[in-house]
Symmetry: C2
Subunit: 415 residues, 2 copies
């Protein structure tokens, strides 16, 4: 927690750091004098270096105790790096095919050394804007979410394990606070940080701030975010936290990880797919009307939820006599009741996910941080039109989420 | 957490301990050579000494690292003493009239020195069995619960304060586990620990274990117990954790305290009042048919909830622009919405409370630990009859709790 011994690295000092750190040097074939180092951090928070040698590569990510984009005037705990490293290691253990390996973590330096996710991997959001289909995306994300959420919940953990883990991640509270503010609060009030495609969405933004029913619903979702430590969630699972190729899906950047509601992760991913969906009309041109791509996106939405449901409940069945203390098999050991239990649990999770999806969509349209899906539509009238349809859908979804029984019904509503 | 330096005191060594501890000796006018010491621990877990001198008195409570009643073969962390002392101090700060003052806490010795709650105070449960009315009980318990629950929730605390407190009390997990087992699990399965008034309730106990809908509902309540850190709850707020006179009400023994659902405390208290209510017919005799006393009990049930509702929402109104981060006033600052928010919150809390009340009643009839209200009815047929009516009411209440809008409706159902 101290800043003693911490200093921000540059290329030169990073080179020395790697030389002195066997767990990193060994990943580069110990060719530490011939390293190619490139700073690529395009995020707002951290420094990210790609380090390559002829026989190996890795990524170094260093958190600094402020928001990089703003500077030292906006402090932000560098301890987020500890939670990111801890979550990465845990998630890699649970879903090794979809989470990069951590080679090294230095808490004093807030520094993670990890696998370089090499080209042709790109950020999923970029792929969605370019109209590229990823046939395995739904399956991979379903696998990632089902495994990381199931195995960190009371469906698998004992109370002892669960409460210890909850306690540890409570300390990642600065990042939880940030989410509370930008997702659940600012979009619903006047805030200097909010922005939207003005003047086209001025009345839409005002309508959000004046919608009593919507504000009642977002309070319930915020309460679940703050007071439902259901599983170790990624905490920021939008489409820029996922890197993809045609046959690989890698989930990165879990610095917002903590014990929260599972639906927050599922909703983040689905909500961002819906944002991509509503942005497509803005990317359509004479060469490509994006109609078939929109079908692929909605298929990916339904595929993700349906496969998640299948894998998650399979894990649950598999471990029904396991250590998890939520539903002791000695109590729930009849077939009819077992089905009832799963149905009830999955229905609530579905409705949570839809609510959080809606919250994540709304905040990207009238809150502080926007998404490139819309931002890259240069015609503002067109952009505002796409955003308005996304916003109207999200508002309806948040209010009516409990009326939806299947993901297909949700997609029909979007169409 | 270490046992180093810990030893179980007896009267002689306690005398030396007090001599050497100014914060205790001073409460006894420093007359440490003329102390009257009496061991009175009638609980199953701890040693309790009443210490008196001519000019003062106090109570010493020492936890031992096992269940006292059983012996060292049933280990139980003595760290519970730390959580009890921490909760007592916090609750005394929030509700000083209804929680005894802690004079001294020694973590190594798991020893609390606190105010002696002097006669004519008796354990509330004894008073309820004797048919004694306590005209201020509802008001006092409402004050205690409203203050301790409101001020430790996100309605008053910041996220930072709340998450830090949640994390600290996660470590009281052994006692949470015990509650999970005896309240939410054992009564719903075959367990060597369960007992009931046999053979009269044999089929009733079996019916509980075979009731799919009931078991579905108790799973939801268990999930809230494990995964809803809403406020610092007492955790064991039955009628033996309350000492009373006609004008004083003192809440003791919060060793099960942790961040959990508020309804668990409210439900524990109301559920135990309902147990007392259903036991009255077993205590009726020719001299006293207990009819008017039953009316007093149900008036106390409704008074407790209605006054709690009033005080709790008043505190909320008072602090609506305060530090609490759950409902930022900048978002919820219109009169209609503010009422909607409170209504929704209080309705959910009411239904939670009814559910937990039911769970606490059921476990006292077919689980391991029974209540003197019923146990003191020596005629087993009569006792079983009282218990069966309580059990049937509790089962209905757990299943139908969401259909009740007022506490009066609940009482009508009990009658």
């Amino acid at each position: 927690m101290t800043t003693e011994g911490f200093h921000v690295l540059d290329e030169k000092s990073l080179r020395e750091y790697i030389k002195a750190t066997p767990s990193l040097a060994s990943k580069l074939g110990n060719e530490v004098d011939k390293l190619d180092i490139k700073e690529v951090g395009d995020g707002n928070l951290n420094f990210v270096y790609i380090v390559t040698a002829s026989s190996g590569s890795l990524v170094i990510k260093q958190a600094v105790p402020y928001v990089r984009l703003i500077g030292e005037s906006w402090p932000m705990t560098k301890e987020r790096s500890y939670f990111e490293a801890t979550a990465l290691k845990h998630q890699h253990g649970l879903s090794p095919k979809h989470v990069p390996e951590v080679y090294h973590f230095d808490r004093t330096m807030s520094l993670i050394g990890m696998r370089y996710i090499e080209p042709p991997h790109i950020i999923l959001r970029r792929g969605l804007i370019a109209g590229i289909e990823y046939p395995l995306l739904a399956e991979h994300m379903a696998e990632f979410m089902a495994n990381t959420l199931f195995y960190t919940s009371l469906l698998y953990l004992t109370t002892t394990q669960h409460k210890n883990a909850v306690a540890e991640f409570c300390a990642n509270l600065e990042l939880c606070r940030l989410t509370e503010q930008v997702v659940f609060s600012d979009p619903y009030k006047i805030s200097e940080f909010n922005r939207w495609t003005s003047p086209y969405l001025d009345t839409d933004a005002e309508a959000v701030r004046k919608d009593n029913i919507l504000k009642l619903e977002v309070a319930e979702l915020k309460s679940k975010f703050c007071e439902k430590p259901q599983a170790l969630i990624h905490g920021d699972l939008h489409t820029s936290s996922v890197m993809v190729t045609q046959d690989s899906t890698q989930v990165i950047d879990p610095e917002f990880a903590f014990y929260g509601p599972m639906g927050f992760d599922i909703g983040a991913f689905l909500g961002n797919l819906f944002l991509a969906y509503f942005a497509q009309d803005g990317h359509a041109d004479q060469g490509n009307d994006r109609k078939s791509y929109k079908v692929w996106i909605t298929d990916t939405v339904s595929g993700t939820w349906n496969l998640f449901h299948k894998i998650f409940t399979s894990l649950w069945d598999k471990h029904k006599e396991g250590p998890g203390e939520a539903f002791l098999y000695a109590i729930y050991n009849n077939a009819e009741l077992w089905e009832l239990v799963k149905q009830k649990y999955m229905t609530e999770l579905f409705h949570d996910s839809l609510g959080f999806a809606a919250a994540k969509m709304i905040r990207r349209i009238v809150g502080v941080a926007h998404v490139e899906d819309f931002e890259s539509i240069t015609d503002l009238v067109k952009r505002a039109d796409c955003e308005r349809r996304a916003l109207d859908f999200a508002k309806m979804l948040m209010k009516k989420r409990r009326n939806f029984n299947t993901i297909t019904d949700v997609i029909s509503a979007a169409q």
